[in-house]
Amino acid sequence: MANKITYREINQDIIGFMTNTGIWYYIVLGFMALGALALFFAPWAYQIYTGQGVTGLNVPIFWGVYLVNFVFWVGVAHAGTLISAMLFITKTPWRRSIARGAETMTFFALILVTLFIFIHMGRPWNFYWSFPYPNQRLLWTNFQSPLMFDVFAIGTYFTSSAIFLYFGMIPDLAALKHHTTGWRKWLYTTLSLGWRGTDRQWHVQGKATMFFSSFIMPLVVSVHSIVSWDFALSVVPGYSKTIFAPYFVTGALLSGFAGVVLMLTLLRWFFPFVRKYVTEYHYDSIGKMILLLSLVWSYCTIMEILTGLYANTSEEMESLKYKILTDPYMQLFALMMFSNTILPLVLMIKKVRITPVIMFFICIFVMVGMWLERYLIIPNALSRKFLPWMWYDYFPSWVELSITAGAFMFFIAMFMASIKIFPVFSLFELKEDAGIPMEKPHGEG
């Protein structure tokens, strides 16, 4: 296998992919964009106009699918950070060709996270009241509220991921301006901020990446821990769990990695050149990661149930009974356990890990399972609170289901549009690896 990759080939592959777009790409992109408009934005506008009553929410299930989606997309956003930052610091070699794609996913997932907060709110037009800005009436926000923590955590995460993504892209943008004309040239020239590739610039860039990586890494742990405190800091049975922070972080990473696999596999299928850069070696590594995360996640899940059983209070038992032994949650719970615990066990087999199509389907299950995990916690726990007189069930309305589905289309549309404008693979980092056969791990692996 002597397929050594040259700089020229990298340039041709990536820039060619960005500038030559087939009509079918536009059709799919248009479909996704229209889908987002019809399924996501239109129902949301209807909801804002009519009121939150168009959802299936009720007393006392005030938190439903919107928050499920919120937590789910925070989870999806997690792999980007981990891959970019943690693996950078540990100098893990397989991160290079997938990091940019994962970071891009993070960015767009965080846009959805923010949108889902607004969608969830009863008066979204007043969203800015939750920022601590100086105002006439000297009103301050409540720093004790886990929701306030969220504002800061997600705000910080969003800002730093965006900067990180942009910062890492500057050398590529500078390279791109030499290979493009028209609006692209203008755009890349503007955005590359006069990058000329001097030693000093490279030196600063390297230092900065190291700095941001170290800065962002704790966010991987903190953001989803904080999101879990939205629940864990309440007294609600089924929410008030000490294990939630690590449990949520693990789950987030699990779904994040699964998301990355889905993204890479689709790119590989539709754009054959990608196969050069994303190889069995990458699948193997991510597969191991998913297996590890799945095991930790399963441990947390089982511990959560066991501590509930051990407590043996009526509140804990009824909330468990509702989740595990009641139609239709029993079936959903079984599906979740199959997807997140049983199925990933096959990743112990190397053959499975390096077969993209199998990985693809396993990851779809993991995504579904992780969505269900949040569903089985968020509305479910509220269905069985302290006073049985007020027990009630929840089923999402068409508006909620439509917005949930539309969010995926919106995500895909944004991603598809973005990778035609900004390189989905890091040119300069790939070039660092150029000349080395990509199929094989280099150095000590």
């Binding site: 009526s314 509140e315 009824e318 302290f386 006073l387 049985p388 007189w389 007020m390 027990w391 009630y392």
Partner: protein, 756 residues
């Protein structure tokens, strides 16, 4: 008009003009509404509430109220704290009277029928025209010498509107003034008359009793004077240092009151009378009764041994004996018989049996027992009169063509009588019907002419509360707000009718209006009554105080004059066997019990949205009706909670959702009364069913009270979705200690330590 509204109108006027010009059409400026407040009413201070003392007419208890009025609008009703009936408290229905006043479905002015009878087609006319149409009709009758053909049907009226109508009718020349409503307590009044010689409803002193034996009296929600009796109940339970009273409830279906009882005796329907007499038997047999006539009581009650009664009533003989012992030994004790009891075919006899218990235990004329009221300031209707006022009699006269003209006020018999009475058909046979109702109900829809009357918050009136006062009480009703629509007071309508008729009637009722009649009548009471006049220098001063306080009442403790029940008097009236139920036992295996809904009462409250959305106190159902079935029975019939079932009696069937209820005997089902209106506004129409439709035409022969518990039924599951909507999903506490309790024994131990 508020400042903001003014600006809004100004703004919309300008915008409207602009838009109008743009479309080539100029809209009418809405500023006209500004004029009326240029000279503001004297008693209006924006933002400051004025309180008017008045009377609640949502049921016949006669509670005193205070109406909070701001900027000419009624905002809130509260109990009048000085009033002896409700002592400042108010029930749910009393609160909701505001929604009768501001109901969007009120009739907005006089109307004349244009379409078929019952078609609901009317045309608006003026009051002058309306009064002259009715006046001409009555003159016609007079000319033809058929004044007896005029019938007037009203609800139970006790105040001066009643005397006004009586005077109108007697001077016009018709004896046919009738009062009818569903829960009129005819049996109770008549039973008191035949057993104690008391032609009235006395005061049941629950507050001071220590053993309350209630036979189906749901005083917590609807019986007699719910606020007064509930207040008494609170006092009986935790009224300070006194010992806590015990409540024993005897009824086949656990009512709200029963749910609060210390003991529930789920007697077989229709055998309560036998049970009461069996308790009486034990009192006499145990030698607790010390009267000289003990032996004749013994003889009278000889057939009611507990062993015999146990077979009939399905109440354990030992339990009967125990209740009897507790009832006579706990001092003071009190037995009451409620709507459930009086709703049997021989309801009157059952209530006589309850009076016997009170007599034998010495509870009559005692504090904490039965306290007869002193003579009223105004002679109200009597049991004898009531006996005559039967709706069946009216239907019969109408069918025979005797009723030439009918005037209906404040009662809806078409809704509250069984189909078998054929009232609707009878009414079609009446040449001319006028309704004074403010709402388009089933009876008003039969009218040729509608003269809509005020609601109680717009009208003048008075009331002399009868049940549960123990003292003389007069309550004044005064308008709290000016009329919302083009309506008139019922009294005013009769007076203007008298004017239109002229002659004897016109002379007799020569008043400017009902307020003048009312004031003049009170002048007479003031003049003839030293006690009433006491402390007031002039009548005007007295009248002002009357308006300020909301009425006049004695403030001293009720006087307790003992009364007795004699064997001779009750001999012919005691229940000897269980009450009869129609329907073959094999084909119709279940007893049907009907009861007034806590919010809708006899159906009159069903158009008030607060009451529709108020969860039923027992089932928590909202916006509908239901049939209560014991889960065992339901299981046998394959019926689940919320299923649609058909309840079928020999007289017809109704479909309604099932409510599985442990508080009902397996051989009994229960349906609340109040829903199932065909007409009555957006909130009431086509909602739930009316169980009265499937009842037989059964009356207590002596009193004329309609027997609501008089048929058996069968059930059949019809489908899965009965559209039952209830609050509260689970009713198990799951050991979470939500409603914490202590046992009576523990309470005895700590009782002294209670403070306040």
């Amino acid at each position: 008009m508020k400042r903001r509204d003014f600006l809004k109108y100004l703004g919309s006027g300008i915008v409207g003009t602009g838009v109008g010009l743009a479309f080539g059409k100029v809209t009418k400026p809405p500023g006209a509404k500004l004029i009326p407040y240029l000279i503001p009413p004297e008693d209006v201070i924006p933002g400051v509430a004025t309180w008017y003392a008045s009377l609640c007419t949502q049921c016949s208890a006669g509670c005193g109220i205070l109406v909070k009025v701001m900027e000419g609008r009624a905002k809130k009703i509260e109990g009048n704290p000085l009033h002896p009936v409700n002592k400042g408290r108010l029930c749910a229905r009393g609160n909701a009277a505001l929604q009768a006043l501001y109901n969007p479905d009120r009739i907005k002015g006089p109307m004349k029928r244009t379409g078929e009878r019952g078609s609901g087609k009317y045309k608006e006319i003026s009051w002058n025209e309306a009064v002259s149409i009715l006046g001409r009709n009555l003159s016609e009758l007079d000319k033809n010498g058929a004044t007896e053909g005029l019938y007037v049907l009203t609800s139970t009226l006790r105040g001066h509107l009643n005397t006004l109508i009586r005077e109108f009718m007697s001077s016009y020349g018709s004896p046919n003034y009738m009062q009818y409503e569903l829960f009129q307590h005819r049996n109770l009044i008549y039973a008191n008359r035949v057993s104690m010689g008391l032609d009235a409803i006395p005061h049941y002193d629950i507050a001071n009793t220590r053993y309350l034996l209630s036979f189906g009296a749901d005083f917590s929600s609807t019986w007699l004077s719910p606020v007064n009796l509930s207040h008494g109940y609170g006092e009986m339970r935790q009224g300070g240092a006194r010992r806590r009273g015990v409540l024993v409830q005897v009824e086949p279906r656990l009512s709200l009151t029963g749910a609060n009882a210390d003991e529930w005796v789920p007697v077989r329907p229709g055998t309560e009378g036998v049970l009461a007499l069996s308790i009486a038997h034990e009192i006499v047999a145990g030698g607790y009764y010390k009267g000289a006539d003990a032996s004749s009581w013994k003889e009278l009650l000889s057939g009611f041994s507990p062993e015999h009664a146990a077979r009939v009533t399905e109440v354990d003989a030992g339990r009967i004996h125990h209740i009897a012992k507790e009832f006579v030994k706990t001092r003071p004790s009190l037995a009451i018989g409620g709507d459930n009891l009086s709703a049997y075919r021989d309801g009157l006899s059952c209530l006589v049996a309850v009076n016997i218990l009170n007599h034998l235990a010495g509870n009559i004329g005692r504090k904490g027992g039965v306290v007869p009221n002193p003579a009223g300031l105004l002679k109200g209707r009597t049991g004898t009169e009531l006996r005559k006022d039967r709706i069946t009699a009216l239907a019969k006269s109408a069918l025979e063509g005797d009723v030439k003209t009918l005037i209906v006020y404040n009662t809806n018999p078409v809704f509250t009588t069984p189909a078998g009475v054929k009232l609707e058909r009878a009414l079609r046979n009446v040449p001319f019907i006028a309704s004074l109702s403010s709402f388009m109900d089933e009876t008003t829809a039969m009218a040729d002419l509608i003269l809509p009357s005020h609601t109680s918050l717009e009208d003048w009136g008075d009331d002399f509360a009868e049940p549960s006062t123990g003292v003389r009480v007069a309550t004044l009703m005064q308008p709290a707000v000016s009329p919302v629509f083009d309506t008139r007071g019922a009294g005013d309508i009769f007076i203007s009718l008298a004017k239109a008729l002229g002659g004897k009637v016109g002379e007799r009722l020569n008043y400017k209006g009902f307020p003048e009649y009312l004031k003049e009548s009170w002048r007479k009471i003031y003049a003839n009554n030293k006690e009433v006049a006491a402390g007031a220098l002039t009548f005007d001063g007295f009248w002002n105080r009357l308006l300020e306080h909301g009425g006049w009442w004695q403030t001293e403790e009720p006087r307790h004059k003992p009364r007795s029940v004699s064997v001779r008097r009750v001999k012919a009236h005691i229940p000897t066997s269980p009450s009869e139920f129609e329907g073959d036992e094999g084909r119709y295996p279940l007893y049907l019990v009907t009861y007034p809904h806590a919010g809708y009462l006899d159906g009159r409250g069903a158009n008030l949205p607060w009451l529709q959305e108020m969860p039923d106190p027992m089932t928590a159902v909202v916006w509908g009706s239901w049939v209560e079935i014991n889960p065992k029975t339901a299981r046998k019939l394959g019926i689940k909670q919320g299923d649609l079932v058909t309840v079928e009696s020999p007289y017809g069937g109704i479909d309604l959702p099932a409510f599985l209820y442990e508080g009902i005997r397996p051989d009994t089902v229960a349906v609340p009364i109040g829903q199932g209106h065909r007409l009555y506004g957006r909130y009431a129409e086509k909602r739930g069913v009316n169980p009265i439709e499937i009842l037989p035409v059964a009356e207590d022969k002596r009193s004329g009270e309609l027997a609501l518990n008089s048929t058996r039924v069968r059930l059949e599951r019809k489908g899965a979705d009965g559209k039952l909507v209830k609050m509260g999903v689970r009713t198990e506490e799951l050991g979470r200690g939500i409603v914490q309790t202590i046992t009576p024994e523990e309470f005895e131990r700590i009782a002294g330590k209670e403070e306040a």
